[in-house]
């Protein structure tokens, strides 16, 4: 499907964003087009930069749990999980097995919700609103389960430092299993739609092919990478929480096009369903939390990696022995995948661009961050005053 663009003197640029129906969050893309073919692409991110990393340095370890949960609205549990795993490693606290299993259970339920949400959004971008409506209708099942299990539909707040807040009661087990059975049947149907509906395949098959080599070069992560044949999944490579006890089968496709991304994500759902059933059947006995989690955490640094629905989430946490972290660094999967959209879209039709963009399952709020600008003055630490002054100077220079 790739067509070689014709060289043109003047660029006709189609701006997508910051406000655009294709984007669910603000981001700015500029696509230079020649007729319908994209010849150049640039991106400008940072519209929803919230300074969370800086804010984390002013809050204590417990408060940060809820701050990082709000980095991403869809994988909120994953961020809290990554953070608490890191902090627990730093504090050398052994978390009870039951708590770890429940964490994995919520993480997998969240993956189901995230993938179904993505599936609906992707169908909408392709202009197949019926599929969008149905997949979101079915997603309500998982939302209800999560609400009943954790007490909230979106920011579950399942984690506390050193464990989880709640147990899974036998009645809830039954509700979850019924929901999962229903969703498994629906997912089979959606997989059938995504792989056999010829009109839908016209928009996905052979579009945006990312070869294994390119995927590795661009550093793509998550299901997007696995659709190109990259064998990488933190749940398998470096099992965290209870994934050593409940191993995951990695889903890998080699085609690398949009269809493969659909297939990988939908097949991962089956894997999640299997895992949820297994966890519910063999929930380890034990406490939900450690007796006492230290308020001050001894000096040291740690990295923590977790497989979010979109790919690998990476946290770096440093403590100087106080009640607050000295540094919290977050790297979210969308940031790794964003470059692939730009390089892929060149040579494709403008109509395919929203599909390519949504193919990586972007989450803009997650990846927006401040940029350190190396200057002459002082060390790399930015105080609020200095940052403010820099902003004023920067815009004064620009105007």
């Amino acid at each position: 499907m790739t067509t070689i663009p014709m060289p043109t003197k003047e660029k006709f640029i189609v701006p997508i964003g910051p406000q655009h129906p294709a984007l669910k969050e603000p981001g700015h893309f500029e696509f230079a087009v020649d007729g319908e073919i994209v010849t150049d692409a640039t991106v400008r991110l940072g519209y929803v930069h919230r300074g969370i990393e800086k804010a984390a340095e002013a809050r204590n370890w417990t408060q940060n749990l809820y701050l990082v949960e709000r980095i991403c609205g869809i994988c909120s549990h994953i961020h809290a999980l990554t953070y608490s795993l890191g902090v627990e490693k730093l504090a050398e606290v052994e978390v009870p097995r039951r708590a770890q299993a429940i964490r994995v259970l919520v993480a997998e339920l969240e993956r189901v919700h995230s993938h179904l949400l993505w599936f609906g959004v992707a169908a909408h971008e392709a202009g197949f609103d019926t599929l969008f409506m149905y997949s979101w209708r079915d997603r309500e099942t998982i939302m209800d389960i999560l609400e009943a299990l954790t007490g909230n539909r979106v920011n579950y707040s399942a984690n506390v430092l050193g464990g989880v807040k709640f147990d899974v009661s036998p009645e809830q087990c039954k509700v979850i299993l019924t929901g999962i059975d229903f969703l498994e049947e629906r997912t089979r149907h959606y997989l059938n739609v995504a792989t056999s509906d010829s009109m839908f395949l016209q928009r996905t098959r052979g579009i945006g092919i990312t070869r294994l080599r390119d995927a590795q070069r661009l550093g793509i992560v998550g299901p997007t990478a696995r659709a190109s044949g990259v064998i990488r999944d933190v749940r398998v490579d470096a099992p965290y929480a209870a994934y050593d006890e409940f191993p995951v089968q990695m889903v890998v496709e080699t085609a690398g096009d949009l269809e493969a991304r659909f297939v990988v994500r939908l097949k991962e759902l089956f894997e999640s369903f299997r895992l949820i059933r297994e966890i519910l059947a063999n929930l380890p006995a034990g406490d939900l939390q450690v007796k006492r989690f230290p308020r001050k955490i001894k000096a040291g640094e740690v990295i923590s990696r977790v497989e979010a629905p979109r790919g690998e989430v990476f946290y770096y946490i440093r403590s100087t022995g106080g009640e607050q972290p000295d540094r919290l660094k977050v790297r979210t999967p969308t940031l790794c995948n964003m470059a692939s959209v730009l390089s892929l879209s060149i040579g494709h039709h403008l109509a395919d661009v929203p599909m390519l963009l949504v193919g990586i399952d972007p989450c803009f709020s997650c990846n927006d961050r401040g940029v350190t600008i190396s200057g002459n003055e002082g060390n790399g630490r930015w105080t609020w005053e200095r940052l403010r002054q820099f902003g004023i100077d920067y815009y004064a220079r620009k105007v």
Partner: protein, 140 residues
């Protein structure tokens, strides 16, 4: 290669009621674990203020009325609260709980969002001590 793979769903929907609920008229029962408005029991509180320290949104203020007799008043800012229930976890004397019924908390002005909890006696004393314009009708 097929076309119209969603035909089955579409056909079923013709004979099925829409899934959408007409919310204000039809209500679903909220799950038991739903985290709604915070409630505080002044009897058990020892004034350790861990809830205050751990609250990520600074929604809780514990105000000492009489330190010796362990009499405290809680000022709860509903509009700041993120309903994460960390305070429920932090409290070692389980005097905080979150309601699963009071979750439709929208209001047209900000006054109902500041709630003051405490025993009647403490509240009266507290009101006399700190005459605050923000507090209109203290809940008990």
């Amino acid at each position: 290669m097929k076309i119209a793979t969603m035909l089955g769903d579409v056909w079923q929907s013709i004979w099925q009621r829409p899934i959408t609920q007409k919310y204000p008229f039809e209500r679903l029962e909220a799950p038991v674990r739903l985290r709604g408005k915070l409630h505080w029991n002044p009897e058990k509180c020892t004034g350790c203020a861990l809830c205050n320290k751990d609250c990520p949104a600074n929604a809780i203020e514990i105000i000492t009325v009489d330190k010796k007799e362990k009499r405290f008043v809680m000022k709860y800012h509903m509009d700041r609260c993120t309903y994460c229930a960390q305070c429920v976890e932090s409290c070692r004397f389980s005097c905080i709980e979150m309601s699963d019924e009071e979750w439709e908390l929208a209001a047209t002005d900000k006054t109902p969002f500041t709630v003051t909890y405490g025993t009647e006696n403490d509240l009266r004393e507290f009101m006399a001590k700190f005459a605050d314009a923000n507090i209109t009708t203290p809940a008990s």
